[in-house]
Symmetry: C2
Subunit: 515 residues, 2 copies
C-alpha cells in the first residue's frame, strides 16, 4: 500500500522566540456556590486568551441540581499557588485558611499577588480576612460591582450620584492596613463606566465605557490578574481588563455571549501560509477550488456592491469637494484638512511600504516604492501650501501636527491591515483614497467656479488632471489583478475592506467640514 511522507517541522522561529519567555501561571480559587464549573471554564478561557497557564481550586461542585462541597483534603491538594498570581473569587473561610497556610509554608515561592472579587464590600469579608492578615496583606485589588457598594454602605442609591461620594464610601469601607486598591464596576456617573481607587498612591480613575454593557466582575478580575502576571502595573492591568471585557461584549457571539477569543489567531492559518511547513503536502488531489465569482471589472463590482455603494457614494459626492470647487469652503477648514492630510500621507506611505514588502512579485514591490515617491511629492505640495498661504515657517511644525480622531481611526485601520492583511487586502485598503479623490474631482473638471489660480482651483486640478487619471487606470488594473489572484473566499473580505475604507474617507472630510 502506498502512502505519502510528510515531515512535521520543528516550531517556526517565531514560535521559538517565545520559548525563553516564562509563561505565567495564575491560580483561580473560587468559593462561589452556583454554576462553579461554568465559572471556572469561563476563567480558563479568559486566562488562556491572556497567554496564562491556569490552575483551579473549587469549593463546590454542582452536579445537576445537587451541590457537593469539595472534601477538605482535595481542596488542599488542588490549591496550587506556585505561580504567585491568585484570583480569589468570593472564597470560603476554609479556602482562605488553606491559602494562609500555603503562603506561610511555601518559603520558596514568590510573595503572591492576589486580586479578589467580592459580593460583599463590608464587614463579613473583612472579618474573614482579619483572621488571616497574611492573605489580606497580599490582596492588591478588590473588585466589586457598584450594587455591592450600595448594599453595604448606608447611603441611598439617590445620594450616591457623584464619584466623590463613591470614593468617600470606599475609603470608609476599607479598614486600615487592609486592601488599599479597589475597582468598582458598572458605575453610572455621566457615562457608564468603572472607578479605580488606588489607596497607596491616592490616584483615582473614572474609566468611561462607550457601551452600557454590564461588565462581569469575575471576568474583569481574571483579566486584571492575568495582565499583572505578565508584568504590567496594576493601573495598566485594570485598563487592559476593562478594555478586554468590553471588547468581548462588543464583539460578542450571535448568542449574546461575550467573545473572549476575539484576539486569537488560528495557528493553522499560519502554518498553511508558511512555505517552510509541509502542510501543502497534505492536499488531496480531489479537492477543487470553487471558481472566482468576479467576472466584470472588479472596480465596478466593488462600487456597486451593497456593502460598498452607500459609503462610496457619500465619499465621492462629498460636500467638501463641492465647496472647494465653487470656492466657498472656509479657508480654516481647508487648512485643517491639509494638515490632517499631510499627517495621513505619512501613514499612507508607510502602508505602501508594507504592501511592497508583501507584494508577490519584485516588480509589484518596486511599483509600491514608486508610489511612495509620488506620496512624498504630494507631501511637498502640502508643505508648500502651508508655508505660502498659512504662514508656516518652522519645519518642526509638520512633525507636530495634532492628529484628529478621524485621522487616528483611519491610521489605526491601516496599521492593522498592514500588520495582518495579505497583499490583496492591502491593495483593497489603499485604492479607495486614490480612486475616490479622482472620481470626486473629475465631476468638477471644467466646472470649477473657484477663483482662477486659487488654492482651491489648483487642488481640483491636481486630482482631475490627465496624469492623475492615468494613475487611476493603474489602480483599476491592480484591483482587477487582485480580484483574479485572490482566493474566492477572500473576495468578500476585500469588498468589506473597500467599503470600510470608503467610510473612513467620508469621515475624514466630515471632520474637515466640522472643524
Amino acid at each position: 500500500m502506498s502512502y505519502n511522507t510528510v515531515k512535521v517541522n520543528s516550531p517556526a522561529p517565531y514560535f521559538c522566540l517565545n520559548k525563553n519567555n516564562e509563561q505565567p501561571e495564575v491560580s483561580v480559587i473560587t468559593g462561589r456556590k452556583w454554576n462553579v464549573q461554568t465559572k471556572i471554564e469561563n476563567d480558563i478561557k479568559v486566562l488562556t486568551s491572556h497567554n496564562c497557564e491556569s490552575t483551579t481550586c473549587l469549593a463546590y461542585y454542582s452536579i445537576g441540581k445537587t451541590l457537593i462541597p469539595t472534601p477538605i483534603e482535595s481542596l488542599t491538594d488542588s490549591m496550587v499557588v506556585k505561580g504567585g498570581f491568585i484570583k480569589l473569587d468570593c472564597p470560603t473561610n476554609e479556602q482562605i485558611q488553606i491559602l494562609e497556610k500555603k503562603i506561610k509554608d511555601d518559603k520558596k515561592s514568590m510573595e503572591p499577588i492576589i486580586v479578589m472579587i467580592s459580593d460583599d464590600l463590608g464587614s463579613v469579608i473583612f472579618e474573614q480576612l482579619n483572621l488571616v492578615s497574611k492573605v489580606a496583606s497580599k490582596i492588591e485589588l478588590l473588585v466589586v460591582d457598584l450594587s455591592v457598594c450600595l448594599e453595604h454602605s448606608n447611603v441611598s442609591p439617590q445620594s450616591l450620584n457623584t464619584i466623590e461620594n463613591l470614593l468617600q464610601i470606599l475609603q470608609e469601607a476599607l479598614p486600615e492596613n487592609i486592601i488599599k486598591n479597589i475597582l468598582v464596576l458598572n458605575t453610572n456617573f455621566g457615562a457608564h463606566g468603572s472607578v479605580l481607587y488606588l489607596g497607596n498612591t491616592g490616584d483615582s480613575f473614572n474609566l468611561q465605557s462607550n457601551t452600557s454593557d454590564i461588565l462581569d466582575p469575575s471576568s474583569v478580575a481574571t483579566s486584571v490578574i492575568a495582565n499583572r502576571s505578565h508584568g504590567y502595573e496594576i493601573n495598566e492591568s485594570v485598563y487592559g481588563a476593562i478594555e478586554f471585557v468590553q471588547n468581548s461584549y462588543l464583539l460578542g457571539l450571535k448568542s449574546g455571549q461575550p467573545n473572549y477569543m476575539y484576539n486569537i489567531e488560528l495557528p493553522l492559518n499560519h502554518m498553511l501560509k508558511d512555505e517552510c511547513f509541509e502542510a501543502q503536502k497534505m492536499r488531496i488531489s480531489k479537492l477543487v477550488r470553487s471558481p472566482n465569482p468576479i467576472e466584470e471589472d472588479f472596480f465596478e463590482y466593488l462600487i456597486n456592491h451593497m456593502l460598498v455603494k452607500p459609503h462610496w457614494q457619500s465619499y465621492v459626492n462629498h460636500d467638501f469637494v463641492k465647496l472647494i470647487a465653487d470656492g466657498t469652503l472656509d479657508i480654516n477648514k481647508f487648512r485643517f484638512f491639509i494638515e490632517q492630510d499631510y499627517s495621513y500621507l505619512v501613514d499612507y506611505g508607510r502602508v505602501h511600504c508594507i504592501a511592497g514588502s508583501k507584494a508577490p512579485k519584485l516588480e509589484n514591490m518596486e511599483e509600491e516604492l514608486v508610489i511612495v515617491g509620488r506620496i512624498r511629492d504630494e507631501m511637498a505640495q502640502h508643505e508648500k501650501r502651508l508655508k505660502e498661504y498659512f504662514g508656516v515657517t518652522d519645519n518642526s511644525f509638520f512633525k507636530n501636527i495634532k492628529r484628529g480622531p478621524a485621522l487616528n481611526n483611519y491610521s489605526r485601520y491601516f496599521n492593522d491591515i498592514a500588520k495582518r492583511g495579505t497583499w490583496e487586502e492591502l491593495v483593497a485598503a489603499l485604492t479607495p483614497c486614490m480612486m475616490g479623490y479622482g472620481v470626486a474631482a473629475l465631476k468638477y473638471k471644467g466646472k470649477v467656479t473657484a477663483k482662477k489660480g486659487s488654492l482651491y482651483e489648483e487642488w481640483i486640478d491636481i486630482y482631475s488632471c490627465a496624469g492623475y487619471e492615468d494613475g487611476m487606470k493603474i489602480g483599476q488594473g491592480l484591483l482587477n489583478h487582485i480580484a483574479r489572484t485572490a482566493a474566492p473566499d477572500q473576495i468578500e473580505r476585500l469588498v468589506r475592506i473597500y467599503g470600510e475604507v470608503c467610510a473612513l474617507e467620508t469621515k475624514f472630510w466630515d471632520a474637515a467640514l466640522a472643524y
Copy 2:
C-alpha cells in the same frame, strides 16, 4: 476628591474585523473516568487557543478520590450540539445514546462532524456505535494511539514494523460502512510520527515528527475538530493538529507541561502600543523606568555578548570566505551561493521595506528605501555574474531559483520579525548580514591570493571597499541609536535576535560549502 477620567474606546478596527466572523462552537463529550475535570480544562485551553467557543459534557466528576457519575438529566442538559462540531472522548453508552437522540431531534442544526478518540480500536466501541448508526456515520475521524492498535489486533509488536502492516490492520479493524478515516499516533516507522489513513479517498500519510515526544491523543483530537470547525479539510486539520501539539511540547513550560498558548498575544500589549487607546492616561507619575544597561558601543556589546559571540565568531571566520579569498572554493558551490543569495536579497529588500514602514521618523523610512535601492544593485551584480560566468540567458531563471532549507529558514525568521517585530528588532535582525560580510571580507583585504580580476577577488573587494566600510559605520550608528531608544527590557530581546541571525548567516554559508 480629584480623579482622572479615561475613555475606554470601542474595539479597534482590527478587532471589529472579526465581528462578522462566526466563531465556531465545539462540543466536548467525555466519558473518561479519571481526572475528568483536568481533561476538560485541557480541552478548553486547546479550543480557546484555536479561537473556538467550547461547551462540555462530563459523564463523571472526580471529587477528591471519589468518583461521581453525572445524573442522566444533567447529562442530557449539558450536551449541546448546536455548533455541529463534536469531540467524543471515550464516550459512555449513555452519552452515545443521548447524542443519537439529540441528532435525530435537532432538525435545524447542521449535520454534525465528529472526531472520536478511543482507547479501543476494535469490537467494543463499534458494537456501541452499531447500535446507533446515526452517530457512527457522523464520525469523520477516529484517533487512537499505536499501542491501542497493537492491543486490538492479533499481530505482535515485532511484526508491526512497517506502515503497510499498520494500514492493513486498520482496514481490517474498521468494519464496513462505519468510520472511514483513522489517525494512529505515536508510531515509530523510521522516525517517530503518526499515520493518517483516509478510507474514503484511499490516501495515506506518514507524518514524521522531529521529536520523540509522545503526543497526547486527546489534545490532537481536540485540535483536529477545532481546525475542522474553522473550515479546513480533514487532512489539513490533522496536519495542523499534530504540528500544534508537537509545538506545544517543544515550547513546553519549565514544568514539562505542554504550552498550548504559545501562539497567543496578550491583548494589553496591543492596547498600550495603539495611540487610539487611552491606556497611557492610566500611568502613575511615581513609576520610573530602570535606566538603559548599554553604556559602551552597542555593536561591541553585541558581538561580545554570551548569546551572540559564538555565533558571530563562526559567522565572520567562516571557511567559505577563506576559500574565496585564496581562490580555492569550488565554483559550483559559489554558483549555488550566488543563486541563494539572489533569492535572499529579494526577502532582505522586503524586510527593509517593512522596517521603513515601522521607522519612527520619516527620515528613517527614506533611509530604508535607499537601502532597498542598494540591494537592487547587488542583485544586478548577481544577475551579471550568473549571465557572464554561468551561462544564464533567460531572465525567468531568477524567479525560479530553487530555495534551499538554509535560505527558507532565514526567510521565515525574517518574515516573522517583520510581522511582529518593532523597528528596533528589525534593525537588530537586518544588521548582522551587513556588518558580518564586511568584517569577514576585511580580514582578507590586501591578502587575497585568488586570481586577479577573478569573480572571487571581485567579491572580496565589494565587501572590503571603502564605500562598504562607510555603510558599516552607518549600520553601527543605527545599532547604537536603537540601543539608546529601545526599552531596557527590550535590549535582551535585541541581543537574542542578533545572535539568532548570526547563526542563520553561518548556516547559509555552511549550506554553500555542503552543496
